[in-house]
C-alpha cells in the first residue's frame, strides 16, 4: 500500500527543513528534501569590501561559523597571494578543530539523542546523581502541572523503538546533560584564540589578529583536557553502545556510496599536506581519486532560482524565483563530474582510510570496527555517520594536543597583505558537516561575485537537471517505516547527515 508521509518541520537540526517520503509496503520508495529558508548572502556580498566577507559569511550559520570564516580567508589568501605564518596556520586549525569537536558532540547528544533515549524513564530514576535528580524532579512536577507542553522542549517525542536497556538509557541522558555543559568548554576552547564563539572575531586573510602568548597556550591546554576526557570516556563509548542497541541501522540509510572530501587542517602551507586529506571515492569507480575542483557544478532545475543552471561555482549566479514551476527547494543541486556525492565526517574518514599516508586514521577505524564487530562497508549507513563523527572527534582532541605545542609564543600569527585591484580565489576546507568551498572574485577592490557551495547543499540537494535525487533523498530510499504517524526511522536517517539548512541555502 502506498502512503505519503510528511516530516515538516524537521526539528533538532539547524534551520528550516521539510522532508516528504512516499512508502510502499512499509518502505520508503522516494523522498523529497525541501530547504525552506533563503536570505541571499551571495547577492548581499556583491559590491562590498572583500574584508567584509569573512565576517558576513560566518553569519550564514551559527553552528559552523568558523568554517565559513576559514573558507573565506583561504579564498582571500589565494586572491591576495599571502601565506600565513606557521603560528597563524596552527591557530586557525585549533579554532576550527574546537568547533568540529563541539559540533560533533552537540549533534550526537542534543540533536540526535532524543531519537534513541526514552526521556520519560528519568521520572523513575532512583540514583543520586544531582543533575539527574534535578531533571527527574522537574519532569515530575511538569507532568503533574497544567502546562500545555510539559517537559518542553524535550517532550513530546516519538515513543517508538527507543533504547530498552534502562542503564544505557539513563547513562545517555546523563551524558546529554554533561554534553550541554561540555559544549561550552568546546566554545571556550575556540574563544581562547577566536575572541568569541559563535562568530569568531579574529579570522583574517594572512593569519589571525590574536597574539600567541604563553598564557593562551596554557589556557587552551587546560580546556582541551576537559574536552578530551568527555570525548574519550563518554562520547565514543556511548556511540558504540547505541550502535549495539540498534544493529539494524548499519543497513539503513546507506545512500549513494559516492564520497567527496576537500581535505582540512593544513599541516604546512598550501593545499598539499592536510591532516585529513582531499579525495573522491565513487561507488562504481576505481577507488580513491584525486579531487578535481573543475568537476564541481550546480544545477537549479528543481530549485527556486531563475539563474543559469549547470554553472561552475566561479561563474555561479543566485537569482531567486519563489514561484518557479516544478521547483521544490531553496537548495541548489551540486554535482561532481555529474555525480551525486555525499560529504561529511564519514566521507573524510573513508578518504583518509583509503589514503595510504594516514596510518593513524586507519588504525583508529580498524580498532573501532573490531570493537563493534563490523566491516568497513558497514560504515556506509545511518550508524556509520555517527561513528565517523565520534571517531573524528577522538582523532582531533589528540591532534590538537600536538598542534598547541607547535605554537611559538610571542611570534607573529599574521602576515600583512595588499588587496589587489582585481583578483580571484578559491577557499576549500571542511566544515563539521562536510566539504565547504567559497569562490571570491574581486574587481575595483570590491567583491564582484561570491559563491558558496556548502556541505548540506551537497547532502540535502534536490533532484538535479537529469532528475537524479540528492544524497539524502537517495539514502532515504529503502528505509522501513513501521508507524507512519511516528516515522522515527526517517528522522534518524535525516539526522545522521547532521543537516544544516541555514548553511545549505545561505
Amino acid at each position: 500500500m502506498k502512503e505519503m508521509i510528511s516530516v515538516s518541520p524537521v526539528t533538532r537540526i539547524e534551520g528550516h527543513l521539510g522532508v516528504k517520503v512516499e512508502t510502499d509496503g512499509g518502505r520508503v520508495t522516494s523522498a523529497q528534501v525541501v530547504g525552506e529558508m533563503f536570505r541571499g548572502f551571495e547577492q548581499i556580498l556583491r559590491g562590498r569590501d572583500p574584508l567584509d566577507a569573512q565576517q558576513i559569511t560566518q553569519r550564514i550559520c551559527g553552528v559552523c561559523p568558523v568554517e565559513h570564516g576559514i573558507a573565506s580567508i583561504s579564498a582571500q589568501d589565494a586572491a591576495y597571494g599571502v601565506t600565513p605564518p606557521d603560528n597563524g596556520r596552527v591557530v586557525r586549525n585549533l579554532i576550527q578543530a574546537a568547533n568540529f569537536i563541539t559540533s560533533h558532540l552537540t549533534h550526537f547528544y542534543l540533536l540526535s539523542g532524543l531519537d534513541f533515549v526514552d526521556l520519560t524513564q528519568v521520572t523513575t530514576y532512583t540514583g543520586r546523581d544531582p543533575a539527574l535528580v534535578r531533571l527527574r524532579d522537574w519532569a515530575k512536577s511538569q507532568l503533574a502541572s497544567a502546562t500545555a507542553n510539559p517537559v518542553g522542549p524535550f517532550l513530546p517525542q516519538f515513543t517508538a523503538q527507543l533504547i530498552r536497556d534502562p542503564a544505557l538509557n539513563i547513562g545517555v541522558i546523563k551524558h546529554y546533560l554533561d554534553a550541554i555543559e561540555i559544549r561550552q568548554v568546546g566554545h571556550k576552547l575556540g574563544a581562547v584564540f577566536a575572541g568569541k564563539m559563535p562568530h569568531a572575531a579574529t579570522l583574517v586573510p594572512g593569519g589571525v589578529t590574536d597574539q600567541v602568548t604563553a598564557i593562551k597556550i596554557a589556557q587552551f591546554r587546560a580546556l582541551l583536557g576537559r574536552l578530551r576526557t568527555f570525548v574519550v570516556e563518554s562520547y565514543l563509548p556511548d556511540v558504540v553502545a547505541v550502535a549495539a542497541a540498534f544493529p539494524d541501522y548499519f543497513g539503513i540509510g546507506r545512500g549513494c556510496g559516492n564520497f567527496l572530501s576537500y581535505g582540512v587542517f593544513p599541516e604546512a602551507s598550501g593545499m598539499g599536506a592536510r591532516f585529513l586529506p582531499a579525495g573522491v571515492i565513487l561507488a562504481d569507480g576505481p577507488g580513491l581519486q584525486p579531487l578535481n575542483v573543475e568537476g564541481i557544478t550546480e544545477d537549479v532545475r528543481y530549485s527556486w532560482f531563475s539563474s543559469a543552471t549547470g554553472r561552475k561555482p566561479a561563474q555561479g549566479e543566485t537569482t531567486p524565483d519563489p514561484n518557479k514551476t516544478g521547483a521544490y527547494s531553496w537548495l541548489k543541486a551540486p554535482r561532481y563530474d555529474g555525480q551525486v556525492v555525499e560529504v561529511g565526517a564519514l566521507a573524510r574518514l573513508l578518504v583518509a582510510y583509503h589514503d595510504g599516508s594516514r596510518p593513524a586514521v586507519r588504525t583508529a577505524v580498524d580498532d573501532l570496527l573490531k570493537a563493534i564487530g563490523r566491516e568497513p562497508k558497514d560504515l556506509i549507513s545511518m550508524l556509520g555517520r555517527h561513528a565517523a563523527r565520534a571517531l573524528e572527534a577522538r582523532l582531533l582532541v589528540d591532534r590538537c594536543a600536538e598542534w598547541i605545542e607547535q605554537l611559538v609564543p610571542d611570534q607573529p600569527a599574521f602576515t600583512d597583505f595588499t588587496i589587489p585591484e582585481s583578483g580571484a580565489g578559491i577557499g576549500l576546507t571542511e566544515a563539521a558537516r562536510g566539504a565547504l568551498g567559497h569562490w571570491i572574485e574581486i574587481r575595483g577592490r570590491k567583491i564582484s561575485n561570491y559563491q558558496c557551495v556548502v556541505p548540506t547543499t551537497w547532502n540535502c540537494s534536490p533532484r538535479d537537471d537529469r532528475g537524479r535525487p540528492g544524497a539524502m533523498e537517495t539514502a532515504l530510499i529503502g528505509t522501513p517505516v513501521a508507524d507512519p504517524k511516528q516515522p522515527i526511522e526517517v528522522a534518524r536517517v535525516i539526522r545522521s547527515f547532521d543537516p544544516c539548512l541555514a548553511c545549505a541555502v545561505h
Partner: protein
C-alpha cells in the same frame, strides 16, 4: 533548592543588579526572580525566522547559570526548533497548543522576509504568518539578536527578500504587544537571561529609544575599551595583529553601544578587541546594512604607507 543552585542565583543576581544599575537592595529580589524562573514561572515559545541559529547557540553558552539548568528549570520553554523532541506534525501541534493557551514570552530569532514570504516556512505555514499569530497572543515579544531587532545581515543592502526586523514587522501588522530588543550578532547570553529575569520581577527594564535594555546598551564600547588608553595616546595599530587602538582599522567601538569589553564572551574567556579584532558593530542599529560602510578600513601595507 540546593546550595549549588542558590549560590549561582546569588552570583548571577549580584552581577545582573550591578550591571542593570539597580543597586545592592535589589539583589535579593533579583535572586528571587531567578528562582521564580527556576520554578518554571516563565512560559516561553522560541521561533526562528531568517536566522543562523547563532543566538540559540550563544544562549547555550550562558554562564554561570548552566544551560542545563536554564533549559530544564529556568524557562518553561514549550518549543525550540533546534532542541525540541517533537518533530514534523507533532512539532506543529506543540506550537499551536502553546499559542492557543497564550500568555507566554515570545522569543524571536531571525528576520522576517517581508517582500518574499516563501523565503521562510515552518511546516506548511509562512513564518511571517506564524509570527503574527504568535505575537498577538504573547505577553511580550523578546527580539533576540540583530536579525530580529533590525533585520541584520538578511536585511543588508542588495538583499533579495525584503527582510526586516521583528519590531518593524509587528508595527506593519498593527500588533501592539510590548517588545524588547536585544541586539548583537550573536546576542550575549547574559543580555537575554538578565532581561527575562528583570521582566519577571520588576516588569519592563528601562529601555532606550530602540527598545533595548539600557543596562546593557547605554554606553559605547569605545568608552569601555581596554585599549582606550592607546586611543588617548594616539597609539594606533597600523595593521592586524599589532598593539594599540584599532580605530584606524575601522573599529566600530565609538558608534556601538554594548558592554562586551567589560562582560567578555564565553564565560569571560575573551572578546573581539582583546583578541585584536576591530569591533564590527554587531550590536549597532544598522549593523552590516550599508555595502559602502566596510567593517575594516585596512587596504594593505602599500596603501597605508601611501596615506601616511
Amino acid at each position: 533548592m540546593d546550595a549549588m543552585t542558590r549560590r549561582s542565583f546569588l552570583s548571577l543576581s549580584i552581577r545582573l543588579t550591578a550591571v542593570m544599575g539597580l543597586g545592592a537592595k535589589a539583589i535579593p529580589a533579583m535572586a528571587e526572580s531567578l528562582a521564580q524562573m527556576a520554578r518554571g514561572g516563565a512560559p516561553a515559545l522560541w521561533l526562528q525566522g531568517q536566522s543562523c541559529s547563532g543566538c540559540s547557540i550563544s544562549l547555550l553558552n550562558s554562564d554561570p547559570i548552566g544551560p542545563d539548568q536554564l533549559l530544564t528549570q529556568y524557562l518553561s520553554l514549550a518549543f525550540h526548533q533546534t532542541l525540541s523532541g517533537a518533530t514534523g506534525e507533532m512539532a506543529v501541534q506543540v506550537v499551536d497548543r502553546t499559542i492557543a493557551q497564550g500568555g507566554y514570552f515570545l522569543i524571536v530569532e531571525g528576520a522576517v522576509p517581508a517582500a518574499m514570504p516563501r523565503a521562510c516556512f515552518f511546516g506548511e505555514e509562512a513564518f511571517a504568518d506564524q509570527l503574527a499569530r504568535a505575537a498577538r497572543k504573547a505577553t511580550a515579544v523578546l527580539c533576540v539578536g540583530s536579525c530580529a531587532t533590525s533585520g541584520g545581515i538578511p536585511a543588508a543592502q542588495n538583499n533579495p527578500t525584503g527582510a526586516i526586523g521583528v519590531p518593524a514587522f509587528l508595527a506593519q501588522q498593527g500588533i501592539g504587544t510590548p517588545r524588547i530588543s536585544i541586539p548583537g550578532c550573536p546576542a550575549h547570553p547574559d543580555w537575554v537571561v538578565g532581561t527575562i529575569a528583570h521582566v519577571l520581577k520588576f516588569g519592563l527594564p528601562p529601555l532606550d529609544e530602540l527598545g533595548q535594555p539600557q543596562a546593557f546598551f547605554k554606553r559605547t564600547i569605545h568608552e569601555q575599551c581596554p585599549r582606550f588608553p592607546d586611543y588617548e595616546r594616539e597609539n594606533f595599530a597600523s595593521t592586524f595583529g599589532a598593539e594599540g587602538c584599532l580605530f584606524k582599522l575601522g573599529c566600530a567601538g565609538p558608534i556601538t553601544k554594548a558592554d562586551c569589553t567589560l562582560r567578555q564572551w564565553n564565560g569571560g574567556t575573551n572578546d573581539c578587541i582583546r583578541a585584536g579584532a576591530p569591533c564590527i558593530g554587531c550590536a549597532r542599529d544598522g549593523f552590516a546594512a550599508q555595502a559602502d560602510f566596510p567593517f575594516h578600513t585596512k587596504t594593505g601595507p602599500a596603501q597605508s604607507e601611501a596615506r601616511s
